[in-house]
Amino acid sequence: MRSASRTARGRRLVAALGAAIIATPLVAACGSDSGITINVYYSPEQVFDKVVAKCNQQANGRYTIAYNKLPREGDGQREQMVRRLAANDSEMDVLGLDVVWVAEFAEAGWILEWTGQNKAEAERDVFPGPLSTAQWNGKLYSATKNTNVQLLWYDDRLTPTPPKTFDEMISAAEQLKKDGKPYQILLTAAQYEGLVVNYNTIVNSAGGHILSDDGKSVVMDQGAVKGLEILKRLASVGVTSSDLTSAKEQQVQLGFQQANSKAAFQLNWPFVYASIKSDAPDRFQHLKWTQYPGVIPGQPSKPTIGGFNLAVSAYSKHPQESFEAALCLRNADNQKFQAINESLPPTIQSVYDDPTPVDRDKPVDEKTNPTMVMAYPMKDAVFESLKASESRPLTPAYQNASTVISAILSPPGDIDPPATADRLRRELQDALQSKGILP
């Protein structure tokens, strides 16, 4: 009797829970005037919710944008989206894609092509480099939201004139080490995409190619081998930190700004500016930045393009509203707003020269209503970098290629340039055709 009543109670509990689970999304989905909700799936950004609020105001009740935060890590973001898209999930409308995923999503038929008025608006005044990441097979599949490019961050007490090439940077670090000063070069070299970004930049700067321009075959030329030599040297002469092989963006950032930091150089995205400013005011006083170091003396580097694009899901029930919402979320004003508030580099060229403050109707104020010049001092370095930048190889099999590259390059200290290049040639060829297995 006792057990029977217990199971009955248990069953009731399960039923109640089940009902609650089923009801929750329904409740969440309601609440807009017209009943149309545009679900945006995008990585967590500090002020993106304010951008969403602004666009909702502009939409004036025709639709309501709901900002669904994806996981912080890139792999987690992609996994959630591909898993749901593969199951034809119609609950996702606008997707925030890392620039390297566009080809993959487009080839799989998961995102809609941009045409007509929307296309013209999404392409207007955008840097050619970032724009190329939004296209696949000559068609536009997404709108650039923000771009990104790594810079060299340094301390002007240690190196008044920054190194221009990797060779100069390594010698400078060795000299600093000898003098007993902070000397380390921090970069993202864990076995993940961040290592591939660094390698890709070095290879491009050396004038080499990992893959052909159409992404269909492996090149791995002299420049690519040169890139291996530089990575190997960097990792083996004792100028990096002990956690090099597990360093991602955040470890690099913290390693540079923590108390008693032994770092003299940091290769990282511009987001570090805002965090050093607030968390390490001492170091911030002497923080300087310049373009990512090159390989060939006298030639600037060709940094890898990062950032995010917005695409519209092929399974969305409201594609027209989704295109409109995506265009609003990445318009010039909002790009400026995010550049000033969280250092995200705009993709629209005119934003860099925009002399007006965040809120045009109010007077300029350093603290509450700054302009680009006041709040985004590295805009010139970013602008110059972007002009020389190159996108990562565009291929639907990018994830495979990147996984193989990061697995083979890790740990960088174990690279044996000619042998490693051979292995890359062999395994990348399989990876591009989605043959072979991922490590």
């Binding site: 591909v82 993959e104 080839e107 002990s242 956690d243 994830q399 890790s410 989605s434 297995i437």
Partner: protein
Amino acid sequence: MTHAAVKPAPAKAAKKPKQELSEGKRAERKLGLLLCAPAALVMIAVTGWPVIYSIWLSMQRYDLRFPNQSEFVFLDNYITVLGSGYWWDAFGLTMLITVVSVILELVLGMCLALIMHRTIVGRGLVRTVSLIPYGIVTVVAAFSWRYAWDDKTGYLSDLVSAGALTDKTAAFFTVVLAEVWKTTPFMALLLMAGLALVPDDLLKAASMDGAGPWQRFTKVMVPVMKPAILVALLFRTLDAFRIFDNLFVLTPGTSSVSIQTYNNLIKGLNLGIGSTMSVLIFITVAIIAFVFIKVFGTAAPGSDPGGKR
């Protein structure tokens, strides 16, 4: 997989009385089968169909990103996977982790079982406390280990000179430690059930005959407990071979066979290769279970040990 381990024994036990079935018994049995049928059909639908479907997928080239290139390739995927160094690296690592952690768990689990068996005061409390690690969700436990061993901020990282999560050998032992800590209580629980089978009279008689504690343990307890030990080993081996959570959280980038399958299936969206790997894991697990049951003579829990001999 535990179902596979359960099946053979009852089938054997049922064989002998088969001829003696009367008319009534047969009708009764028919009714029994009919009553079981709906449940069995549901079981086949939810477990059998995915197994068959993944075998079917494993013989195709099927990459979600290249939907137009899907085709039937028969055993090509198996040749690719079995011919790949990555697969065998992962396989070797998984085996090593399995063997090392299961051995450690057996030794520690036995000690823990003896302690729990012999405790006089607060027996319930001791058992509950020792089961806590097993009650914690693996991912949560793995995260707490990760923070503990973190190079910069971890409170345990000063104990070792090499980075506990970055150095290859050190990371291996960190993972094994996490596994052992987590599942030793489970091992101990199974072994304690075996200890309960050892009659006190037998131990007293042995000690009357002059057997020391070690002799009593090896000559009396272990032989009597053998079925329980083998079942515990079987369960843990099957479980350990599928290690995923700890590696996923503690050492991203390290591949066990399960992680590699996940990488190919979910990250790579390659249903063909991914399914091939999961079929291979299925086969390996089946072989392990077969070896335990046929070679070591593990009795399935619930089957009558008298009927087997």
